[in-house]
Amino acid sequence: MSLRTALLFAASLLCAGAGAGEIPPSERLSGYDLMSRETRAMQDDDATNPGMLWVLDGEALWNRKAGAVGRACAACHGDARTSMKGVAARYPAFDAALRRPVNLEERIKLCRSERQKAPPLAFESRDLLALTAYVARQSRGLPIAIVIDERTLPFLDAGREAFHRRQGQLNLACSQCHDDNWGRRLAGSLIPQAHPTGYPLYRLEWQGLGSLERRLRNCLIGIRAEPYAFGAPEFVDLELYLMWRANGMKIETPAVRP
């Protein structure tokens, strides 16, 4: 890293840490802390957490041979409990070939098509959700650890800018609800701080498991903005920012949320 880059990088980090209205680390709360006791109980018990149905599906897919090469994920990655530990905690991560960060769903899709030579898994398909949930489950309890360097910094900045930008017919920025008004109510629902600690998660509203992108699409539709398509780079920038903003918080996948 050149001196100039290092100085810019350091300056950026300082700005990032002292952003106006951003939640100080001591006040960070997961959506878990803001839900009812009963919904928390639903998440805590693997026997009653519906997300576990997808995690089990994911385990089966992990061990199933796939693609033209006829190899399962397990053939290269072995036991996910060891090999995938900590992975979800550092995604979105930079992909050298694509020269941009990718989220966990995209990483799995890439492995599927490029290494297993299998037909692509569609975004939000049951199989992709199951595999993502299974992989992310292996990081449960671990702190989110997004590392920003000179390669990922521009994408973090893009995500931060999107989070603070007013958009949609309601002309609202994410930060107005999730930085400035978390803990208050919007039409009967408690506004969380928007830390993606438990994705993919079982949302009671969906009556099923869904990805962070699905939730972000819900938000954008909610403020009457045009939602990006699944897999859009704008989404990954925002996910990178959200995960970085939640650095240190524990992964809860598969979480349950209202």
Binding site: S36, E38, M42, S189, E205, Q207, P258
Partner: protein, 157 residues
């Protein structure tokens, strides 16, 4: 972006709503649902009087989402061959249909309980009825406030 043609199709379709769908717009909705509840109750207990007590129905008073409301029922009973709970029924007053679940059990259960998650379409009262081996009926009710209702709100996204 909805084209004019699409809009006209939508408008025409909504006018031609099926009877079932139109029923949800019925101005006598509350009265009809209450009647349905009474009917369901009668189907279960016949002419026998239902007594309050022995049944404990637990629901959170204010819930996160009407699609998935944790519910548990426990009935006081020795659960012996001579004296046990034969069935537990759960009913609602304001859902599109009054029945929620009916449990058949016996002394092998050890305890007469049910824990599950239900859908509630509105702020309302939920009732649990226990049918005893001696033919008597006991019940309990609980009030729940629902802000995001199931059944009637579209989960479009």
């Amino acid at each position: 972006m909805t084209t004019r043609r699409e809009f006209l199709v939508l408008a025409a379709t909504s006018l031609a709503l099926s009877e079932a769908a139109r029923a949800q717009l019925d101005p006598n909705l509350a009265a009809n649902r209450k009647a349905a509840f009474q009917e369901a109750l009668r189907r279960i207990v016949g002419d026998t009087q239902v007594r309050r007590g022995r049944v404990k129905l637990q629901l959170p008073p204010l819930i996160d989402n009407g699609n998935s409301v944790p519910l548990s029922v426990a009935v006081e009973s020795p659960m012996t061959e001579a004296d046990h709970v034969r069935a537990i029924h759960v009913l609602t007053e304001k859902n599109p249909l009054p029945d929620v679940a009916s449990v058949r059990l016996g002394p092998r259960a050890g305890r007469a309980t049910l824990s599950t998650r239900v859908r509630l379409a509105d702020t309302q009262s939920v009732t649990a009825i226990a049918q005893m081996s001696d033919g008597s009926f006991w019940s309990d009710s609980a009030e729940v406030v629902v802000t995001l209702s199931a059944c009637l709100e579209e989960g479009l996204i």
